[in-house]
């Protein structure tokens, strides 16, 4: 069986976001780009499954929709251990555009499991994975916190409000993963970095798809009032403020 891991290229999670062009875009100067944290964990789990001979997983491919500038992120995924990569050569216009491109590739090349993160840390959409599955007409399981294979069958834990479900679906399917899927992201070792250089990255030109949405402006979150400090000996004053000023208790 083959796994396809969808990876998104996002600003490092500590980045101070600044805007450009009259607040219509993000100022990318000085931004460090990383694999979206969820996708890093999803790749880690895919590689763990491949390492386990009983899982039946034979290969792990990463796919990314992005311009040439996102190549370093793809190389990083290869250095961590993916066997090969696919880059669809287009700037991601919206979730619809990205999902349509990935679905197009999966129609031509067989994958048994497609893994996506629950959320990209830049767009915060939580939509690409579900869209891919519907474009392909295959099942999707969302909020997956564990995935393993028993006798070739996937067994997943799906998080629900206030609990968990053990779920299975027939392959091919999309697993949309969240916390728990892997403990720590796997990091690239020197050998992996060397090997990544010679691993294949297949370049695919995008199909024509019109995006359905467009960001026209950004704004900063509303500034918060300065912190009022309360003496550590006077917690009653804090409660008074919470009760009578904030009115939250």
């Amino acid at each position: 069986m083959k796994i396809l891991v969808c990876i998104s290229n996002v600003p490092d999670t500590t980045t101070k976001i600044k805007f450009a062009e009259g607040n219509t875009s993000i100022d990318t100067a000085g931004i460090q780009w990383v694999i979206n944290p969820w996708d890093e964990l999803s790749l880690t789990r895919a590689l763990e499954l491949k390492d386990d001979v009983t899982s039946g997983i034979k290969s792990v491919t990463v796919i990314h929709v992005g311009p040439p500038a996102s190549e370093p992120t793809i190389r990083k995924a290869l250095a961590i251990g993916a066997d090969d990569a696919i880059r669809i050569n287009a700037v991601s216009a919206d979730a619809w555009f990205v999902a349509a491109q990935i679905a197009e590739v999966v129609k031509k090349e067989q994958f048994d499991v497609i893994m996506c993160g629950i959320e990209s840390s830049d767009y915060n959409g939580s939509i690409v994975g579900g869209m891919i599955s519907e474009f392909l007409g295959i099942p999707s399981v969302s909020a997956v916190s564990d995935i393993k294979f028993e006798n070739g069958q996937p067994v997943m834990i799906r998080e629900i409000d206030g609990g968990k479900e053990v779920v299975t679906v027939p392959a091919p399917f999309v697993a949309i993963v969240q916390k728990g899927i892997a403990k720590e992201p796997r990091i690239a070792a020197m050998r992996g970095i060397m090997m990544a250089r010679s691993k294949p990255v297949k370049l695919i030109e995008p199909v024509a798809v019109d995006p359905l949405t467009q960001i026209v402006e950004f704004e900063k979150p509303a500034p918060r009032a300065a912190c009022k400090f309360i003496d550590d000996d006077n917690p009653a004053q804090l409660l008074d403020l919470l009760q009578n000023e904030a009115k939250v208790i």
Binding site: M131, T168, P221, L238
Partner: protein, 322 residues
């Protein structure tokens, strides 16, 4: 034309989140000068269903079919898209909780409808249809134009106030044909934690970080939470260390919450932590370091040792409750 809202139920009951959704849908419908149709799937009695009417739903479609007892995103998508066609819905509203995240994107492809996910305000503009959405994990908000005829909005939990709207709702029962062969998701086991206030539902959250020093120090924090009717949460290192259960981890890679009050005890306030809590209406920080970044996000702060402050706070709350 209509606004369609999917209202999930939990063992036959709605919760605050369902009423937030209907209040929001009613707001959108007012802007569009149209009506609200709510869809409920699963066994819910009329007394419960009619509550949706108090928040502005004009029609409630009660879908009952045993085959839809567990969430199968494909089957649910079929049911909701069919109803949206019949109701001629131009806007479809779903929660952005786990269920919404499973359904909204599939519905989008089925209806060729653009999605505005994680919205927290009414649309900014109708022409072009523009929504206000969280991006960059709360570090920026985007004005997103949805160009398709049908629009799907997923509403961030706890971000929209309940608004009661006097009116009258009709209930329509529907038992759609569900082709068993299309149901692909098999649920083999369910584990539910009962009796606890869910972190994502809670109005008040008391959260502990590494500054709590040891899992043995949690009792006063838990007691404070119990007294306030709050849920408990923690920072990532705390759940990584196994001091607290994983369900409590808030932040970029944990749960994203928006309670009315978030009390952060011994939490430094790293950006990845703030990403999960910055939409809280009020933040209180208790930290021994007066320069900790959490104080920049907080409205109220106490500089001090958590082990000394927490017991005093517990006593003060007890005094207040008398």
């Amino acid at each position: 034309m209509s606004v369609l809202v999917y209202t999930e139920n939990w063992d036959g009951k709605f919760k605050k989140l369902s009423f937030e959704l209907v209040s929001y849908a009613t707001g959108v419908a007012k802007m569009l000068n149209t009506t609200v149709t709510a869809v409920s799937i699963g066994k819910v009695d009329d007394g419960e269903l009619i509550k949706l009417g108090s928040y502005g739903a004009n029609k409630i479609i009660n879908v009952n079919n045993e085959k839809l007892a567990t969430l199968d995103s494909q089957a649910y998508t079929s049911v909701i898209s069919e109803i949206s066609g019949k109701e001629n819905s131009s806007v479809i509203i779903i929660s952005n909780n786990n269920t919404g995240k499973a359904i909204a994107p599939r519905l989008s492809v089925r209806l060729k409808a653009g999605v505005g996910s994680g919205v927290s305000r009414l649309p900014l503009n109708l022409n072009p249809f523009t929504v206000y959405k969280r991006t960059y994990s709360g570090n920026a908000f985007a004005h997103l134009v949805i160009k398709s005829d049908v629009k799907i909005l997923t509403l961030a939990q706890n971000s929209f106030d309940l608004i009661e709207t006097p009116g009258y709702a009709t209930i329509e029962n529907l038992n759609p044909a569900v082709d068993g062969a299309l149901l692909k998701t098999v649920v083999k086991d369910v584990q539910k934690q009962s009796g606890k206030i869910l972190l994502t539902d809670a109005d008040i959250v008391v959260s502990g970080g590494r500054g709590m020093k040891s899992p043995d120090n949690w009792p006063p924090l838990v007691e404070l939470a119990t007294l306030l009717g709050a849920a408990t949460a923690c920072s990532r290192p705390v759940s990584d260390e196994g001091w607290r259960p994983h369900e409590e981890h808030t932040g970029q890679t944990g749960k994203i919450i928006a309670p009315n009050l978030y009390i952060a005890v011994g939490i430094s306030g790293a950006t990845q932590h703030l990403a999960g809590i910055s939409s809280s209406k009020y933040i209180v920080a208790i930290n021994s370091d007066k320069d900790a970044p959490i104080f920049e996000a907080a409205q109220y702060g106490i500089v001090g040792d958590a082990m000394k402050v927490l017991p005093k706070l517990v006593e003060a709350v007890k005094e207040l409750k008398k």
